[in-house]
């Protein structure tokens, strides 16, 4: 198990730091016995073995659920624990959790499956096997009890961690049965609970990881210390494709606390006693970069590249139907508009960091990662050690948003540690380094053309996206004959592949063509919370609003007419519109948007007003979500609320521009993010229709901006097509 969490004696109910191997030494402080019984000193007993990979139950009935996915605020740890606890039949008040290490996963033949945490997939791509893990543990515990009592398993019942046999009036606690249960053959067939019988899942349980976040007790990776640990700050070449030419190490070497000045690839690194010393010395270091071919590259060139794509005749087709050219020619009315969506940084609150220890015998890393197994692979590569000699210990992340699916900072920490053998090295990026070395949201523009018949029905729609492909840069093997289907997220036809089924278009258009002119500027793109759904929904839902207006139709009715075959999509749109006051004659200005993304149906109704200076005031957003099964409704609401902040921060402020081959924005003073004053009231409608498992961490981001932009049109008669809005006077 994760050594990091085995060092703490904290066994409080709300702490996740309950440790498996240390538990036998310390659970005596807890006492789950009935008051009439004599307290048992569990510390005298050897620790219980695990029941199976997912479930460890201590003598005192505390249940530790193993969570392979990363926790970065999205609540997956609590949701997955609920699913396991539901099938296990334990007392929810005795549930805590821990992270197995990717090294242990490797040694155990990947018993926990994938550690990758992205694409709103934590629950929707692991619910089956984690529930089976909980069910298997319950079945083994029950069989152990039945064997002890010599009664049929079928006559035993389980409730809140107690197994009972009515006929013989016998009962036993889970904690007492673990040793016997762990020796039984695991079952291979499971009957999982019907969601209508859920008592833990489907309920608005409090998160398991809140308490230590309120007192400063929770250790994020950047908070870790080890005896003799040294701290490192890094400056990698900020220029696209540039290299390190030279640096004068004598300056930092003369500064207090500095232990070593290093070159790692094209980066300068200062290692010192404290990070403040390391970073101050790095700031003072004279460094010359060789800018190379892109030394004068700027956003003007990116814009020209994307504009070229907008006019291209050769494109990749993502989805089409009918004959759009003929329909456009025959249309009674056509409209056209061009939108843009800028480069954006993830800007997690905790900048990138990792702590590494390299010795000739092993390499260990402590880091906030969304993909423990990728971090382990990076550790293996950078350390030169075989995988058996490496491991990665995950912490809770100070934000992820897709950035921490990449392991660049892990490799850097390991390489530094290899130069400083036997010492724990904590590499902490400055915010400036974090802004300069992102895996940025891809930049695109989009030209949309629509045709209407005399009755105001859509007869033709052409959506041409120009710009950057994430897969071309990060996973070229995933391209299909050069095309990046992920670029069309939310706009694809059904039936392409299982993996793309959650990215399909729900509207029915008679004649349409959705295509992509791939234009890749030399910026490193990445998966940014919501990914390509964000801009695609902004393009589609804003333009449909334009078409509804051009047709003289109500924007809700206009959409519903194209969703006749998609009752779930129509239902969330209607719910958001109804609760959001759509159609009220109250002088307020509203806008709508809906999309199917990450396996969930979402919609939003925004209500805005315009301030005296022409800036937008977002008063209220009503959001509806149908994720199929809703494992923890209050945490779904939290994700919806947070999605508006992420999506609206991007709409209002989020933009990285380039000058002299490097990002111009270096910190939150130039890369702004919403504050509480910008936050609208949010009303969340969680309307699970059952039968499927959708994600909730991302889809709502996509409807945030178009709902607001459509409301701005209602308020001003002006279409916002250029993003971010910043503090533009929207009346002009």
């Amino acid at each position: 198990m994760n050594k990091l969490f085995n060092t703490s004696p904290n066994l409080s109910r709300r702490s996740f730091i309950v440790a498996t191997s240390a538990a036998g030494l310390s659970v005596g402080v807890l006492n789950a016995c009935a008051p009439s019984e004599k307290p048992v000193d569990y510390s005298q007993l050897p620790p219980n073995p695990e029941v199976n990979a997912w479930v460890h139950i201590h003598h005192d009935d505390t249940v530790t659920v193993r969570i392979a996915r990363s926790e970065m605020g999205q609540g997956t740890v609590t949701g997955l624990s609920q699913l396991v606890a539901e099938e296990l039949g334990c007392d929810w008040d005795k549930v805590t959790f821990e992270f197995p290490t990717p090294g242990e996963n490797q040694r155990r033949d990947r018993v926990w499956g994938s550690f990758s945490t992205g694409g709103s997939s934590g629950i929707r791509r692991s619910h089956q096997y984690v529930r089976e893990g909980g069910a298997a543990a319950r079945m083994m515990l029950t069989e152990a009890a039945a064997n002890q009592w010599d009664v049929p398993v079928s006559e035993c019942t389980v409730e809140k961690g107690v197994i009972s046999h009515k006929g013989s009036r016998k009962s036993a606690r889970f904690g007492e049965l673990v040793v016997a249960a762990s020796k039984l053959m695991p079952p291979t067939e499971f009957k999982l609970k019907d969601s209508k019988d859920w008592i833990i899942s489907g309920k608005s349980k409090q998160r398991l990881d809140t308490a230590d976040k309120l007192t400063g007790a929770l250790k994020y990776a950047s908070d870790l210390t080890f005896p003799g640990m040294l701290n490192a700050s890094i400056k990698d070449c900020p220029i696209l494709g540039g290299t390190l030419k030279s640096f004068d190490a004598s300056v930092p070497e003369a500064m207090p606390g500095v232990k070593k000045v290093l070159q790692i690839d094209n980066a300068v690194v200062v290692v010192a006693d404290t990070w403040w010393q390391a970073n101050s010395a790095l700031e003072a270091t004279p460094i010359e970069w060789d800018g190379g071919k892109l030394a004068s590259y700027s956003s003007d060139e990116i814009n020209a590249l994307l504009d070229d794509g907008l006019e291209a005749s050769e494109t990749f087709t993502g989805n089409k139907g009918g004959d759009v050219d003929a329909a456009m020619k025959a249309a009674a009315k056509t409209i056209e508009a061009t939108y843009n969506f800028p480069t954006q940084n993830h800007a997690t609150m905790e900048p990138m960091n990792a702590t590494a220890l390299w010795t000739p015998e092993k390499c260990e890393v402590w880091c906030p990662t969304q993909n423990g197994e990728a971090a382990l692979r990076e550790t293996v590569t950078a350390s030169g050690h075989p995988i058996e000699k490496c491991d990665v210990y995950k912490t809770i992340l100070g934000g992820g948003f897709g950035r921490r699916g990449m392991s660049d900072y892990v490799g850097q920490a390991v390489k530094i540690a290899k130069e400083m053998q036997g010492k724990h090295i904590k590499l902490q990026w400055s915010r400036e380094e974090d802004m300069l070395h992102g895996f940025y949201h891809p930049i695109t523009k989009c030209k949309l053309k629509g045709g209407l018949d005399v009755d105001g029905n859509i007869t033709a729609l052409d959506i041409k996206i120009s710009g950057q492909s994430i897969l071309a840069a990060l996973m070229p093997q995933a391209l299909v004959e050069g095309a990046d289907y992920a670029t069309f997220q939310g706009l694809l036809p059904a039936g392409l592949s299982d993996r793309l089924e959650d990215q399909t278009l729900k509207y029915s258009f008679p004649n349409f063509h959705i295509h992509h002119a791939m234009r890749n500027p030399p910026i490193r793109p990445g998966f940014w919370r919501g990914v390509n759904l964000n801009q695609n929904t902004l393009y589609l839902e804003s333009f449909l609003d334009e078409m509804a207006h051009a047709a003289g139709e109500d924007a809700l009715d206009f959409r519903l007419a194209m969703l006749k075959d998609e009752p779930k999509m129509a239902a969330v749109l209607k719910a958001a519109a109804d609760k959001g006051g759509w159609g009220s004659n109250d002088g307020k200005h509203r806008g709508l948007a809906n999309i199917y993304g990450f396996g969930s149906y979402v919609a939003a109704c925004a209500e805005v007003s315009i301030n005296n200076d022409g800036t937008v005031k977002i008063n209220k957003i009503t959001a509806a979500t149908d994720p199929g099964h809703a494992v923890n409704p209050q945490q779904i609401a939290a994700q919806v609320e947070g999605s508006f902040v992420y999506g609206l921060s991007a709409m209002l402020f989020g933009e990285i521009t380039y000058k002299d081959g490097q990002p111009e924005q270096r910190n939150f003073d130039t890369y702004n993010s919403m504050r509480i004053k910008d936050m609208p009231k949010v009303e969340t409608i969680v309307m699970p229709s059952g039968g499927f498992w959708g994600g909730v961490g991302e889809p709502t981001i996509a409807v945030a901006a178009p709902a607001v932009v459509n409301a701005i049109f209602s308020a001003t008669g002006k279409r916002v097509r250029k993003f971010p809005i910043n503090n533009r006077d929207l009346r002009v």
Binding site: G73, M349, R431, D669, I676, K677, V682
Partner: protein, 150 residues
């Protein structure tokens, strides 16, 4: 050697006086609840109290302290997480990733000490901390709930 009064304890700081309070707390005094987010007083993750006032410690050098000031960090806000703001935060399950929340809680607790009846407008004017997970809707509710608990 400089004497600091942190969370009611007299602590010796033996380092460069230009060190920002944030890094003295985190690296010399072992109080890692106060977070580094930007280093330019923009995000508020590093907020602590100096004599009851919310201060962004990432730009506050040790040299600016006389030593007698009462410095309070998240670790010293209450002994057991029972400050009204912490109680409200628990009840509404406010943190997501939680990294900004120590600073958020310190900013809010300073506001409510100064202004126990803080209005929405007061909140908008005073609480300028960045939260990228987007807890603002619950933070606002939490502030109003904490007012009732105080």
């Amino acid at each position: 050697m400089i004497k600091l009064n942190v969370n009611g304890k007299k602590l010796d700081f033996d380092g460069d006086e230009n060190t920002p309070l944030l890094w003295a707390l985190r690296e010399q005094l072992g109080l890692t609840g106060t977070k580094y987010g930007c280093g330019i007083a923009e995000c508020g993750a590093c907020t602590v109290h100096i004599d009851g006032q919310a201060v962004r410690s990432c730009v506050y050098p040790i040299a600016a302290l006389e030593g007698s000031e009462e410095i309070t960090t998240i670790e010293g806000l209450s002994k057991d997480g029972s400050h009204p703001v912490q109680q409200a935060w628990t009840e509404l399950d406010i943190p997501q990733c939680g990294y900004c929340q120590a600073g958020m809680i310190m900013a809010v607790s300073a506001l409510l000490k100064e202004n126990p009846n803080a209005t929405d407008q007061d909140i908008d004017d005073t609480i300028t901390n960045i939260c990228r997970c987007g807890t603002f809707a619950r933070v606002r509710k939490g502030i109003h709930l904490a007012k009732k608990k105080a």
